[in-house]
């Protein structure tokens, strides 16, 4: 079939067919944007500080006397991607149970924050950390030492949770 109707050149008027005025229009728009205020940032040098509602890397809350987590395993159970592994053990503290092993596989994590929602101790929260780069599969499985974050750094997320959870 030979289509002669509704082709691009049929829809253009004479000035548009010339192209030159159109190029000038485009350049005007470009030059105008050059002097407008920027809304991007030069990322690696200039970092973003997300709001408390941001769901970054899940972390464990570290208090003065150790981690809050009692290794109940609910985060592991609720995790839709099976990213969390918890192995409990006994301690002499008041809370008899602590996580001997706590690992989050960041390759599996989908940042849904179900773990944070289900946690009865407010021990696992979503941090503001969004820089997640790993060089091997093994590195992406974060052990307890890498997950523990002092409670002072997580205050605004905990505050946000208390308000909106």
């Amino acid at each position: 079939m030979n289509i002669k109707e509704n082709i691009e050149s049929n829809r253009l008027n004479f000035w548009e067919k010339l192209y030159l005025p159109e190029i000038a229009k485009g350049m005007a728009s470009t030059f105008k944007a050059m002097f407008e205020p920027k809304f991007t940032r030069s990322y690696p040098e200039e970092k973003m500080t997300p709001s408390p509602s941001f769901r970054g890397r899940p972390v464990l809350v570290l208090e003065e006397d150790g981690e809050r987590c009692v290794a109940c395993g609910l985060c592991s159970r609720v995790c839709p991607a099976l990213a969390i592994e918890v192995q409990a053990a006994e301690t002499d503290r008041d809370k008899e149970r602590y996580p001997k092993l706590f690992e989050i596989n960041m390759l599996r994590c989908i940042f849904c924050a179900y773990c944070e929602e289900v946690c009865p101790e407010e021990a696992i929260v979503m941090s503001k950390d969004y820089e997640l780069v790993f060089t091997s599969q093994e590195d992406a499985i974060l052990p307890k030492e890498k997950l523990l974050v002092p409670i002072e750094e997580l205050q605004d997320r905990l505050e946000w949770l208390r308000q909106y959870k």
Binding site: A71, C72, L82, E85, Q87, K95, E121
Partner: protein, 590 residues
Amino acid sequence: MPQINIDGKIITAEVGKTIIEAAIQNGIHIPHFCWHPELSVAGNCRMCLVEIGMHKKTPSGTFEFTEDGTPVIQWFPKLQIACSTQVSDGMFVRIANSKVTHAQEAVMEFLLINHPLDCPICDEAGECKLQEYAFNHSNGESRFFEQKNHKPKRIEWGPNVIYDAERCISCSRCIRYAKEVAKQDVLTFVNRGDHVTIELFEGTQFDNDYSMNVIEICPVGALTSKDFRFKTRVWEMSFTESICTGCAKGCNTKIGVRNNEILRIQPNTNMYVNRYWLCDHGRLNTFRNVNENRVTHNQIKTDNIQSKVSFEEAKSFAIENIHKYKSSEIMVIGSPYSTNEDLFVLQKFAKTILKTKHLDFIPRIDDKFGDDFLKQKDVTPNTTGARELGIVPIQEGFDTSQLRKAIETNHIKCVIIMNDDLSDQPTLLKSFEELEFLITLSSNHSKLTDIADVTFALSTFAEVDGTFTNIDGRVQHFTPAIVTKENLHRMGMKMSRLDKFGAPNDHWTQKEHRDCKPGWKIITSLANSMGASWHFKTASEVFDEITKQIPSFNGMNYELINKYQGLVLGRANRPDEVLVNYVSHYMKPD
């Protein structure tokens, strides 16, 4: 027999039965904590309150009806407990009206006043009766804002049981169990009111052989197992019904598996064998050899060096050497630890392929182990089966007591031994070193596998489909709980969630799938390579062959055995009645 009406359902119960018993036998669940069918009635939890009424009678003794035919019922002014009220003819019971529900909610609120609600820490969470009822029979609200009572925690009652007084709801099941079933009356309530707690009498320990049953009957997490404590959450395990291998009683068990490792063994109710109980030995010791020290590869010994080989290589090496001996120089030793299927195929192999008369097994009797409850003197699970299937010397063949002499006098030069490590037979084991050729089918490394010329990796009871015949001749079926390379294809849905969905880079599924086979499969393969043509593909096909060949097994099959929780030898056509098994509380969904 009295007829009673529970919420419109008319049921018949024997005279003297309580309402709760009659209800459970008819599949009606009345919430309760302290009642247990094997224990005396305490009536102290008040959870089973129901509304009871009697059909009004006319002065002449007949039942009275209104004009439209509905019965005239005189309801008791107060609620009654179903666990200690006996049924009587014309009784009406309401178990779900608002009055009863309100009472249940009040009881739950009352029980939860001093309960610490430390479910995240508690091992019972997930299979807790209090948790379950808090969902089903509580309005979820508490009016108690004061300080909760604090009581002692982590008290060791004995070598295997730990008591947490805070979680205790004072149902007294453990006290009654210790007194009535375990016959070690060392527990009692002390103090009063909300300070009540359970203590041991001074200078005593709850160190009974059956002490760990209190862990199951405890409706909350007050009693936990020292061995299992904090090992895993219950919902992370898969549960498989199995049979205990600790002695000849054949107690029904439930195996809890996570990461291809047995973590817990619990009793499974079978009213004809172990009722609701299991001994501590069965719980603690029978799974160690499944988890530890396993033979995971077939191996052969050449020039005194053990080397790992494939199954085919091991098989051809074995057959090559078997052919060097006359049939009268070969002895086949079965095992009372093996399944009926393994033993049947082994004796068939000995009789038809090797044509040897020397066939026997070593029974294990321990007089100190037996008692008058569950534990038997015969400490192996399948001695009855081994005898029944003909693991005995044929005519003047050697038995195991003559074996040492026969080896020393060079009458026996080659031995094939299945599933027995002879660790308790040092002199016989010593004489085995003089054998020219030794083939073992072993699940665990031992001195025997060190001296063996060929070792076939054998599956344990937890990895195979099979049957054991207990001391009363009851044939009971069990299925695999643990994944091996060989049974992987049929284990998918049975595995726990974590095991099912693990990927190679996940740290939580690192336990290997062992390369071992059930005994009947190894022997069948050997036989077929030596000229036989046996077509056993599954254990149930072997069992079908047993039922055809051995008269006492006639009429049995796995389906029937499962249906009746075991069939007794020679009585397959007259099975025991199927009962409604009472289950106090368990992991749901299991």
